[in-house]
């Protein structure tokens, strides 16, 4: 037989005793899973269309719907799993690359879960953050090797050294790059406004800047990627910092592709491309083939913005991330953002997302160590990105050497995302990864801003608690302070790369 149906991934379980046929699910599902039959006044489902986003389940007023994984499929097989068989079948039918969204979901080791934090006992007592001030503020940017002070005419001490431009973060967490186009304007507004109110930064991705977002410029990192979409002098001037995107953790080595259907009139205006055309970002920057080329672009951008804005470079965590990062630092970048392999994406070939790159834990530890060895760690700030799930991950990353972290997936989950990984379809029921006006309005930025603020507030409180427990009252003191970390369940080699001792080993 030429055709074999792939098993449905989910089953919509509808409790007949509870379903009141109010049709909220029918109206709301962008995948047309739910079907209303007026003759019998009942609602049924087409399971094959369900992506498992749980939007219907969330709205159902009687809790009649449960979305379940379809367990019954093939004979259990550790090698030939359902998803493997499904993918092969799909490819046998279409001959195409399998697309997916969000970050790698393969069970590679999550090293955060193998790293433990320290706490003070007896000596070096812990600090109670409720009673004593606790500093979470971070500055991103090139720091001077030394600071010279002098007395001014009035006899007061004054800073003599000229400091490079810095980004001031009230919390060492920022919202990572997500372009307007891949996500809805309401998502961008939520991120921008929340950043503004939190005193942190969000990143435009390669989506340009929608006119309604200019007012958040002071909290915006504007990105320049290989497609150069939406880049113009005012764009450069509006942002607080400029980020050159070389690579992305979810899809290192390849470019981006925003399908024409998502390029609405407003997206096309922000990106400066014709409406409805595919927006293709090339794999490399066609003017960057060396560190020297990169250096040129960095300085061109600094020149264009009167040296008033830090210029950073974002790279994916790949095997050679260490020397690359060193090169980037030497090219004059004010910060390096390293995106680990669990970082998300709006669309990527599944095979790339799941098989290319390295975890951020290794990348950040190795890069920090090398930059220290080379004596250039202070010349550049490090931002870790790619799958930060909690304040625990954040504080461990900082102890490993990051100055701050970028979060995106967590932010989207705060906005409703259920990790269905269908961003590339443009039919996001939660109004996040879509440009369909019927869907985008589902994300009310007022709610979005509040939820993002809540998340960052909660993580800040937890970070303060953990810091206090370690007897530290400033996040600065933790940066790269690996003595506060211990590994568990890791090989010697892994511990060595992470630069931490094993659990049980004293100082």
């Amino acid at each position: 037989m030429a055709k074999r149906p792939t098993p449905t991934e989910f089953i919509v379980e509808r409790d007949k005793d509870r379903c009141i046929a109010c049709q909220v699910c029918v109206r709301m599902c962008s995948n047309d899973v739910h079907i209303y039959d007026a003759d019998t006044n009942t609602v049924t489902s087409d399971n094959s269309k369900c992506v498992g986003c749980h939007f219907c389940e969330t709205l159902c007023p009687t809790d009649a719907i449960t979305i379940k994984k379809n367990e019954s499929s093939f004979k259990p097989n550790a090698n030939w799993s359902v998803s493997v068989i499904s993918d092969i079948t799909k490819q046998a039918e279409t001959g195409g690359v399998i697309l997916t969204g969000m970050g790698c979901d393969k069970p590679y080791t999550i090293y955060w879960d193998h790293i433990l934090l320290n706490a003070s006992q007896v000596t070096n007592p812990s600090i109670d953050p409720l009673r004593e001030p606790m500093e979470l503020r971070r500055y991103i940017g090139r720091k001077p090797d030394k600071i010279e002070l002098d007395y001014n005419k009035k006899g007061k001490i004054e800073l003599k050294t000229m400091l490079e431009k810095q980004l001031k973060l009230e919390v060492p967490i920022m919202f990572s790059a997500m372009s307007y186009g891949s996500v809805s304007l309401n998502t961008c507004i939520s991120l921008a406004k929340a950043s503004h109110e939190l005193g942190i930064f969000y990143n435009t991705g390669e989506g340009g800047l929608h006119k309604s977002l200019y007012k958040y410029g002071k909290n915006t990192i504007i990105q320049i990627a290989s497609g150069r979409f939406g880049v113009h002098p005012e764009y450069l001037r509006t942002g607080a910092a400029i980020e050159i995107k070389i690579g992305q953790g979810a899809k290192p080595g390849i470019g981006g592709h925003l399908p024409g259907e998502k390029v609405s009139k407003e997206v096309s205006e922000a990106r400066m491309i014709p409406e409805g055309t595919d927006a293709i970002s090339p794999a490399p920057h066609h003017d960057i083939y060396s560190i020297e080329d990169l250096r040129q672009l960095i300085h061109a951008l600094k020149e264009a913005t009167d040296y008033e804005k830090p210029v950073g470079v974002k790279i994916a965590a790949v095997h050679n991330v260490v020397p690359i990062a060193s090169g980037v630092a030497r090219a004059g970048a004010d910060y390096i953002a390293i995106d680990g392999m669990r970082g998300g994406t709006g669309a990527a070939p599944k095979v790339i997302r799941d098989n290319v790159g390295i975890p951020i834990e290794f990348a950040i530890a190795a890069v920090d160590a090398r930059l220290r060895e080379e004596g250039i760690r202070t010349k550049v700030s490090l931002i870790a990105a790619g799958g930060f799930r909690s304040s625990g991950d954040v504080i461990k990353a900082i102890a490993l050497g990051a100055d701050a972290v970028y979060i995106a997936t967590s932010a989207l989950i705060a906005l409703g995302c259920s990790q269905c990984q269908k961003c590339y379809t443009g039919k996001c029921n939660w109004g996040i990864a879509t440009q369909d006006p019927y869907l985008t309005k589902r994300l009310n930025p007022e709610i979005g801003v509040q939820r993002l603020k809540n998340l960052i507030r909660a993580w800040s409180l937890e970070i303060k608690d953990m810091l206090g427990g370690m007897g530290i009252n400033s996040i600065d003191s933790l940066c790269g302070n690996r003595t506060h970390l211990r590994g568990i369940g890791l090989s010697d080699r892994e511990l060595e790369i992470l630069g931490i001792k094993s659990a049980g080993e004293p100082q």
Binding site: D17, R18, I20, A21, C22, Q23, V24, R27, M28, T58, L59, P61, T62, D436, P437, Y438, K441, R442, N444, E446, I447
Partner: protein, 147 residues
């Protein structure tokens, strides 16, 4: 005076407001009983309108200069002193439909079981109208009127 504000930008058109309005004005106020036919289901007092991708849920605006108050010949339609809401006294209404005829928003309707007018009562007795409370996207808000 608190009023329901409509933000059509964020109305998803899910009609949960309608569902909860029906339940609130049913006899049992129990969603399953209301819908499963154990008692008669009242007509919703909220009107969800849809055109293209614009949707909004409209209920009585409790107008300052309410035409229904002038038109009511029995005095059933009255303004609540405390809240300023325009309410319909079920005992006095005889179902002449004058209010339906003059309401420029078209938000008064015939009750499904009795010959009386049915309209938004701002869910008197509740902290906030159930349509507002159950709007998943805060497209309806219960706020002090701005005058």
């Amino acid at each position: 005076m608190k009023r329901i504000r409509i933000d059509e930008k964020y109305c998803m058109g899910c009609r949960l407001c309608e569902v909860h309005c029906i339940v609130q004005h049913s006899k049992t106020k129990n969603i399953l009983k209301t819908y499963m036919g154990e008692c008669s289901k009242p007509a919703p007092r909220i009107f969800v309108e849809e055109k293209g991708y614009v949707t909004f849920a409209l209920q009585c605006r409790h107008c300052e200069d309410a035409p229904c108050l002038d038109a009511c010949m029995t005095g059933a339609m009255y303004r609540d002193k405390e809240t300023g809401a325009v309410l319909c006294s079920e005992d006095k209404c005889v179902g002449c439909w004058m209010c339906i005829m003059v309401c420029p928003f078209g938000v008064i309707s015939r009750s499904s079981d009795k010959k009386i007018a049915s309209k938004c009562d701002l869910c008197m007795g509740e902290d906030m109208p159930v349509c507002v409370k159950n709007c998943p996207n805060e497209a309806l808000k219960y706020e002090d009127s701005k005058d």
